[in-house]
Symmetry: C2
Subunit: 307 residues, 2 copies
């Protein structure tokens, strides 16, 4: 039984108030794989890249326990490329370039060796691609987690709703939750979105943490207050990778364990933003992760004796 | 030994997307007293009101264990009046009217019976008034907590810095922390502000919770996700009242107990915003408070087994 991840593997060029990169490795599935492979292996990847995608990058993922049988390599085409510039507050950014390239015609194929999928992570991608992966699986996974973004609400809302209806956990940010539900209050937005299909909803609030909703319960995970957010690219994907990675490792999909999984996701995201791209995720050890998780315990742990 | 509170007692007229009030009772010290009196009595109040301030309101505070010997009543003058209108997001507001009235010439007098002050809460008010109260106390209190706002940074920065240098705990919101420190990162802002005097800094982030800084430690308390914020007026004062109320009740000023005190403050603030003005604070029972504190435990409580 395994974790299957679908999403982009790509090039990014990033500009932040702290610096600027040339083309570096990015993509939702890349971040998810680098993160989740700390917790569970193999991570069975579904994606598409062009002939320009470095073999060394694929080898590094293989060495990390990421299965690439589901990654199509289109030798004569180019990989997806995104370029963006962050504003001073790091919460907003301008997209400078989007070149879909191989992603524009991506038709995902689920290899037979992925049919043991127990945990399915649908990284942010066209909803039709996400749906195709769900439909190709012969057995329903134990848990399907879906990430998405406002762009798909604007250009593919019907497709998006069709996927949302089939997933267990949906991940969106606060403004996306408001857009999808038409409700300003996040509590009301969550109630409405959970009637669309998902039993669990995670609303990410960036530096303000994340909320997990389920039935009438709510759990809050803070973001670690950082001196400096160097590059927020991939933080949401890394959060998703930590969340599903913890669940796949423990094979426990109770609400209680999802709380822990969100803390793990938050801790991993706090590493991601410390350097450009996936750089920090490649460096960290299990000891680093444990130390960071302990920081989260310290951050929110309190004793109370009622009045 | 006792809790002494200084701050305004006033009239407010409030407009929110949910409704509008005529003149109702407000003022920082009013909110603090209604809140803190749940945890400790007497609350020894220092303030000033005009002849228009209802005797019934003073009687209600007396019945609640609030000592009013330090509240000056200027029979021929009018009480401080503020009117404001909140925007849809409830985080921003326009001030429509500010009539200082009795507050413009307020010269606080600390009664002899307040000289047993152990906990001093300086509610948001002109820094010169806050300083005068500190200077009139013959013995240094065990803990001085100060609330302030951006207005004083703009019109009385030197006075403000003189008070900040003398307090143990400073309360500001995120934009005020940035303004006071000149640092965008809240972690850096906190480090800088703590060099100005306070050993503890609380940064309030409204619906995004609050951070407590002390030396190299940080604690985060979430705000309770609410379906509806009806009226945010007084939420910060109520937070301060819950914080100092818990500390005064337990007489424990350790960092560990301050964490709990921030949760108590957050819980009390979550009641405050449910109705206009002080209305909800007057209704709630100890059982309501305990139930709300339990909600906070559920909101942030998680188990972790390290990787």
């Amino acid at each position: 039984m395994s974790l299957v991840v679908v999403g982009s593997m790509a090039f990014d060029a990033i500009e932040t108030p702290f610096g600027k990169t040339d083309k570096i490795i990015g993509g939702a599935a890349t971040y998810i794989a680098w993160c989740a492979s700390n917790f569970t292996q193999p991570v069975k990847q579904i994606s598409v890249v062009g002939g320009d995608f470095p073999q060394a990058e694929l080898d590094a993922l293989t060495a990390r326990g990421v299965a690439l049988e589901g990654v199509q390599i289109k030798k004569d085409e180019k990989s997806f490329f995104w370029s963006g510039k962050y504003h001073m507050d790091m919460n907003t950014r301008d997209t400078l370039v989007t070149e879909l390239n191989v992603l524009g015609t991506f038709d995902p194929k689920v290899p037979d060796s992925y049919q043991d999928c127990e945990f399915l992570m649908l990284g942010n991608l066209a909803p039709a691609v996400q749906l195709s992966v769900i439909d190709q699986l012969k057995n329903k996974p134990k848990l399907i987690v879906m990430d998405t973004m406002n762009f798909w609400m604007e250009v593919a809302l019907d497709d998006l709703k069709a996927v949302i209806a089939k997933v267990d956990v949906l991940l969106v940010n606060d403004s996306e939750a408001r857009e999808l539900s038409g409700e300003f209050s996040l509590v009301r937005a969550a109630q409405k979105i959970m009637t669309m299909g998902p039993k669990y909803l995670i609303i990410k609030k960036g530096e303000h943490g994340a909320l997990l909703f389920h039935e009438n319960s709510v759990f809050f995970a803070p973001a670690l207050p950082l001196e400096e957010v160097f590059d927020p690219t991939g933080a949401g994907d890394t959060f998703a990778g930590g969340f599903i990675g913890h669940l796949a490792r423990t094979k426990d999909i109770s609400f209680k364990n999802m709380k822990t999984a969100i803390i793990v996701g938050s801790a991993m995201a706090s590493f991601c933003v410390e350097k450009f791209g996936t750089e920090r995720l490649r460096e960290i050890s299990k000891a680093d992760i444990d130390a960071r998780l302990n920081e989260f315990v310290q951050l929110v742990n309190f004793d109370i004796d009622l009045v």
